[in-house]
C-alpha cells in the first residue's frame, strides 16, 4: 500500500528521476575523498541555520524597543529558547569556519580553474553573503555590541566621498541608530540575504552538476582548455561512480559529526549574550565584534591612521575583485597543490595573518583598560622600601590613570610599554620630557600635572628596574659612582 502510494506520487512528480540525475550524478571516484566534505558540511550548517532561525523568529521581536527583552525572554522563559539561540549562534560559527576551509581546499586543489570559473565566483558571492549574515546576525542580538557595531559600520560608510552621509542615512534608516535601523537589518538578515543565499546555493549546485566535481588533482596533469572536457568525460567513463550511494559516505560522516559538534557546543557553551542593554547612554561599555570580524577590528586599530580611509574604501573592492578575477588570472595549467608552492604559501600567509589579527582582537592590546587605574593592584615589590616622594609618585601613577595604558607587574593596560623596568630605558630627563610632552602615541600630561606631581612621578618611575640591571644614564653626563 505504502509502495503503491509512493509510486503514485512519483509517477506524477518524477522525484526518483530527479533524484537519480542530481544526487545520483556521476563523480570521479577520486572525489570521494575526505578533502571533499566541506561543501556539503557548509550546506548542512545553512539548512540548520534556516531551521533554528525560523524557530527564533517565532518569539523574537525585531523592534529596537523590545528586541532585548525578547532575547532575555528566549534565554530565561521560553522553553528551550536558550538552546535554540545557542544552536543558531554555534551554527553560524561552524558555517563560517567550514566555509573558509572549503574555500581553501577548492583553491589548493585548483578547482576554480577551467571550466569551473562560475562555480568559484558563485562561491565567493556565497562567502560574502554569509559574512553579511554574520554581521546582520550580530545586530539581531540587539545589545551594546550590536548598537556600537552599527556605529562602527556607519562611521566606515561615512568615510565614503560625496555620498557618505546619504549612505549612512540610508543604512540606518534615519539620522541615528534607532527603531528603523534594527527593522531594516532584520529584513536583510531574514528575507533579503537568505533569499539570495538560497538562489546562489542553487546556482552553485547546478554548476556542480553541469560542470562536474573537480577530479582529485594529479601533479603534472594540468588543465588544457582544448582537451579538458574530453578528458573529464573519459575519466567519468573509466572510474566514475554515482555520488549517491557510492561517494556520499564521507560527506555523511562529516555532516553527522558537524551536527553533533554544534549540538554539543550549544549545550555546553550556551547562547551568546545579549550583553548589556542597547541604551546609548550606558557608555561604560567595551564594544567588540563577534569572532568572524575580530580581524577587521584588529586591523583597524593597527593600521597607520593615514592609510585607514584609503584602505577602508579600496581594500574591500580590490580584495573582492581579485577573488572574483582569480579563475581568469589562473585559468588553466597545474592544479595540484604539490606543484603550486606560491598558492600554498598564499593560503598559509592568509591563514596566519587572519589568525594573528583574530588572536590580537581577542585581548585588544591597543585598548586602554578603563578600570585598571582604580581596580588593578600595585604589586608589593614596586612600593616596598620606597621613599615618601616615590610613594607619592606611585599614587600619581595610579590616580592619573597611567595604569590604563601601562602595566605594572603584569596588571594594567597594554597600550603603552610595561613600566616594570622603565628606569633601564629612560633617564630622568627623558622621563620628564615623555610625561610632559607625550609623544609616540602617549598624550602630553604637561597641563594636567603640577610640577611637584611630575617630580614625584618621575622619582617613582626611576625606581622601576630590576636590581641587577643598571639605570639608563645620559652618556653626556659621567655616570654616578655605584650607578
Amino acid at each position: 500500500m505504502l509502495r503503491k502510494t509512493a509510486l503514485w506520487i512519483d509517477e506524477r512528480l518524477r522525484v526518483s528521476k530527479l533524484f537519480a540525475s542530481t544526487a545520483g550524478h556521476t563523480v570521479p571516484a577520486s572525489a570521494g575523498s575526505w578533502f571533499y566534505v566541506f561543501g556539503s558540511g557548509t550546506l548542512l550548517c545553512f539548512v540548520l541555520q534556516i531551521v533554528t532561525g525560523t524557530c527564533l523568529a517565532f518569539v523574537y521581536v525585531p523592534s529596537a524597543d523590545e528586541a532585548y527583552t525578547s532575547l532575555e525572554y528566549l534565554n530565561y522563559q521560553q522553553p528551550l529558547g536558550w538552546y535554540l539561540r545557542a544552536l543558531h549562534y554555534w551554527g553560524s560559527n561552524f558555517m563560517v569556519s567550514i566555509m573558509a576551509v572549503h574555500m581553501a581546499q577548492v583553491f589548493l586543489f585548483g578547482a576554480f580553474k577551467y571550466p569551473r570559473e562560475l562555480t568559484w565566483i558563485s562561491g565567493c558571492i556565497l562567502l560574502l553573503l554569509t559574512l553579511g549574515m554574520a554581521f546582520t546576525g550580530q545586530i539581531m542580538r540587539f545589545d551594546q555590541d550590536a548598537y556600537w557595531g552599527l556605529g562602527i559600520g556607519a562611521a566606515i560608510m561615512g568615510r565614503t566621498p560625496l555620498i557618505g552621509p546619504n549612505l549612512v542615512h540610508w543604512i540606518l534608516g534615519g539620522p541615528i541608530i534607532a527603531g528603523e535601523t534594527l527593522s531594516r537589518f532584520f529584513t536583510f538578515h531574514v528575507f533579503v540575504i537568505p533569499g539570495l543565499l538560497i538562489a546562489l546555493v542553487s546556482l552553485h549546485l547546478r554548476l556542480v552538476l553541469t560542470k562536474g566535481i573537480n577530479e582529485y588533482p594529479v601533479p603534472g596533469q594540468g588543465v588544457r582548455k582544448e582537451t579538458y572536457a574530453e578528458d573529464y568525460e573519459a575519466l567519468l567513463k573509466k572510474e566514475g561512480v554515482p555520488f549517491y550511494p557510492k561517494a556520499i559516505d564521507k560527506d555523511l560522516i562529516f555532516s553527522g559529526l558537524v551536527m553533533l559538534s554544534i549540538l554539543v557546543c550549544a549545550a555546553y557553551f550556551g547562547p551568546k549574550g545579549p550583553e548589556g542593554m542597547p541604551n546609548p547612554t550606558y557608555i561604560d561599555t567595551v564594544p567588540a565584534p563577534d569572532f568572524f570580524f575580530l580581524w577587521i577590528y584588529a586591523a583597524l586599530a593597527l593600521l597607520p591612521p593615514y592609510t585607514e580611509t584609503f584602505l577602508l574604501l579600496t581594500a574591500p573592492v580590490v580584495g573582492i575583485g581579485l577573488l572574483l578575477a582569480l579563475p581568469f588570472l589562473s585559468n588553466t595549467g597545474e592544479k595540484s597543490a604539490r606543484r603550486r608552492p606560491i598558492a600554498v604559501l598564499g593560503v598559509i600567509l592568509v591563514f596566519l595573518g587572519l589568525s594573528t589579527l583574530t588572536h590580537l582582537g581577542t585581548y585588544a592590546p591597543w585598548s586602554p583598560h578603563m578600570e585598571a587605574w582604580s581596580g588593578d593592584p600595585t604589586p608589593v615589590q614596586f612600593v616596598q622600601g620606597r621613599s615618601p616622594l616615590e610613594l607619592q609618585g606611585a599614587l600619581v601613577l595610579q590616580n592619573k590613570q597611567c595604569r590604563n595604558c601601562h602595566s605594572l607587574g603584569g596588571h594594567g593596560g597594554l597600550r603603552g610599554p610595561a613600566l616594570d623596568d622603565i628606569a633601564t630605558r629612560l633617564t630622568r630627563d627623558q622621563l620628564i620630557r615623555q610625561v610632559i610632552q607625550g609623544g609616540g602615541n602617549m598624550p602630553a600630561y604637561g597641563k594636567n600635572l603640577a610640577p611637584q606631581e611630575v617630580s614625584a612621578l618621575v622619582a617613582f618611575l626611576q625606581t622601576l628596574r630590576p636590581t641587577y640591571v643598571p639605570a639608563a644614564h645620559d652618556s653626556a653626563v659621567p655616570a654616578a659612582s655605584g650607578g
Binding site: 523592534s63 529596537a64 524597543d65 523590545e66 548598537y147 556600537w148 556605529g151 562602527i152 556607519a154 562611521a155 566606515i156 561615512g158 568615510r159 566621498p161 557618505g164 552621509p165 546619504n166 549612505l167 549612512v168 542615512h169 540606518l172 534615519g174 539620522p175 541615528i176 541608530i177 534607532a178 527603531g179 528603523e180 542597547p278 541604551n279 546609548p280 547612554t281 557608555i283 561604560d284 561599555t285 567595551v286 564594544p287 577590528y297 583597524l300 586599530a301 593600521l303 585607514e308 580611509t309 591597543w366 585598548s367 586602554p368 578603563m370 587605574w373 590616580n399 590613570q401 590604563n404 595604558c405 597600550r415 607625550g438 602615541n441 602617549m442 598624550p443 602630553a444 597641563k447 594636567n448
Partner: protein, 177 residues
C-alpha cells in the same frame, strides 16, 4: 513566415502577424506595469537615502547650574527625530564641558575614529575610547591613537539659563555636527 503559423491567418502588409502583435503588446504592457511597480518600491526602499535636513534642531540639555565650571559632565537628551518604537536607542549622550561662565564645549559621545563611546577621565583630563585606543584632551583635541581629528563638537546657545545644543544625527567624518 509568420503567415504560415497555425492560427494566424491575417497579416498586415508589413508582415506582422496577429500573434506577434499580441506578444509584443503583452511584453510592452508588462514592461510598463513593472516600471510602474518599481518606481514606488525603489522610492520606498531608498527613501531614507535622501536626508531630512530638518532632523537637525535645537535641543535643551538642562539648566546651567547642572554644569559646574571647569568640569566635564555627561548629559543626555532625547533625539528630536524619533519613531514610536525607538525605545532607549533615541536617548543620546554627550559630554558638556563648562570652561567658565557661559563658555562651553559640548562634545558628541562618538569617537571620530569609528564612533565608539568615549569616556571622560576627570583625573587625567582625557577622553579615552575603549575600541581602538584613541585619546583626546579635555578641549576635545586629538591626543593619541588612530582618530583622524578631535571630538565632534555641537553648536550651543544659552537661553534663559538653559543650555541648548544643535543636533539630531549621528556625526560622521563626512558629516560632523
Amino acid at each position: 513566415m509568420a503567415a504560415n503559423e497555425p492560427g494566424s491567418t491575417q497579416t498586415t502588409p508589413a508582415g506582422i502577424s496577429r500573434r506577434g502583435l499580441l506578444f509584443s503588446l503583452g511584453v510592452a504592457l508588462n514592461v510598463v506595469a513593472a516600471t510602474l511597480l518599481a518606481i514606488p518600491i525603489i522610492g520606498y526602499v531608498f527613501s531614507s537615502f535622501r536626508r531630512n535636513v530638518a532632523s537637525q534642531s535645537w535641543i535643551r540639555l538642562g539648566a546651567l547650574e547642572n554644569f559646574p565650571e571647569h568640569q566635564t559632565r555627561l548629559a543626555t537628551y532625547r533625539n528630536p527625530y524619533t519613531r514610536p518604537w525607538d525605545g532607549k536607542t533615541a536617548d543620546i549622550p554627550c559630554w558638556v564641558r563648562r570652561i567658565a561662565g557661559e563658555q562651553f564645549q559640548v562634545f558628541a559621545i562618538n569617537c571620530t575614529h569609528l564612533g565608539c563611546p568615549v569616556r571622560w577621565f576627570q583625573e587625567s583630563h582625557l577622553f579615552m575610547c575603549p575600541c581602538h585606543g584613541g585619546a583626546y584632551y579635555e578641549d576635545g583635541s586629538h591626543a593619541s591613537g588612530p582618530p583622524p581629528r578631535g571630538l565632534y563638537e555641537y553648536e550651543y546657545k544659552i537661553e534663559q539659563g538653559q543650555l541648548w545644543v544643535r543636533g539630531g544625527q549621528l556625526p560622521t567624518l563626512s558629516e560632523p555636527l
